[in-house]
Symmetry: C2
Subunit: 197 residues, 2 copies
């Protein structure tokens, strides 16, 4: 005898596909759905379908949009482009309400071990934007890991000869944390990138 | 400008309704859905709808079922009834593969502070089963809190005069934990319910 009847077991299985969700958590989520009103569950299901149906990628920057181009590309000044790996990185930076330029989502980073080369990500599209839009600076905001660093180096070598400034987000000790607990790699980067006071 | 486009914002909002899910986690889940194939997202949405459409309550014990009565009620011996608060408690006990009797789901516990009396939960239905099914023992497995205890006491007073044995799950120190870290209430219950060796 199964512990869960089929429809509940199936929903638990679906919830288990979400990142970081184990059987126990999936079970709690499934019970919550069972307890929801019919219309609330319908709204939930519709939101899932809706995201797949309505979300497209901006043909300029590659960020999520419901239209041809995203709102950021439509209204922002275009002389600074922030290059990120994925659309979720755009959301993380937008939350700061500090960056006023536009983005370019690579949809991946160069990773030879995984067989991902420059032609597999949106590098060509970035270069096309540089000549068109009068760009003064490209801020590379890929993750501080091997493939993120490699991608940043690659882009810098490609873009600098075009007379466009290329910068990279600073590495260092996270604000509020302690030197004692900072990992070795971060700490040594903080030394290398130290600033004059 | 919104950080998330409408369909993604809406899905984040839906995921936030799940227990223990904050904005950040809801966001990760939503991105996962965006990355899913159309058919996987459709399957997910269908599982949510399916649960609402197919899951009913067993008319005998009140547990989840797709039919009139649940599989447990159809095949198990009926001389011992384990009384629980919610269907999820049935799943927790079934996982042990130890209890061989049937269940009775109260769908709540007596809680005067919340205005929940004996008539608001499935007490009447339990009493009806006692006279019909030749029940020898009722194991009350409500949670060890004020309302769970009150419900257990109430049921015992009601059922014992009918000549049916009423028992309650033991309280005590969780297996594998340490006395030093056991909370005061549990530790004192462990003293009261101590067993002769």
């Amino acid at each position: 005898m199964e512990i869960f009847i089929e429809p509940i077991g199936r929903l638990i299985n679906e919830f288990s596909k979400l990142p970081g969700v184990g059987k126990k958590t999936a079970q709690r989520y499934a019970y919550k759905i069972v307890d929801m009103s019919e219309s609330d569950a319908r709204a939930f299901a519709d939101a899932i379908i809706g995201v797949k149906r309505k979300v497209k990628y901006c043909k300029v920057c590659g960020n999520f949009t419901e239209n041809e181009t995203c709102e950021i590309c439509r209204v922002r000044e275009k002389n600074v482009i922030c290059v990120v790996k994925e659309p979720k990185d755009v959301a993380a930076i937008e939350k700061l309400h500090e960056f006023k330029g536009v983005y370019h989502v690579l949809h991946g980073v160069i990773d030879p071990m995984e067989g991902v080369g420059p032609n597999d990500i949106r590098v060509k599209e970035l270069l096309a934007r540089l000549s068109d839009e009068g760009v003064k600076e490209v801020i590379v905001a890929t993750n501080p890991d091997v493939s993120g660093d490699a991608t940043a180096m690659y882009l810098a070598r490609l873009i600098k000869p075009l007379g466009v400034k290329v910068t990279r987000l600073a590495h260092g000790i996270p604000v509020g944390s302690e030197i004692e607990y900072t990992d070795d790699v971060t700490l040594s980067r903080a030394f290398v990138e130290r600033n004059e006071l």
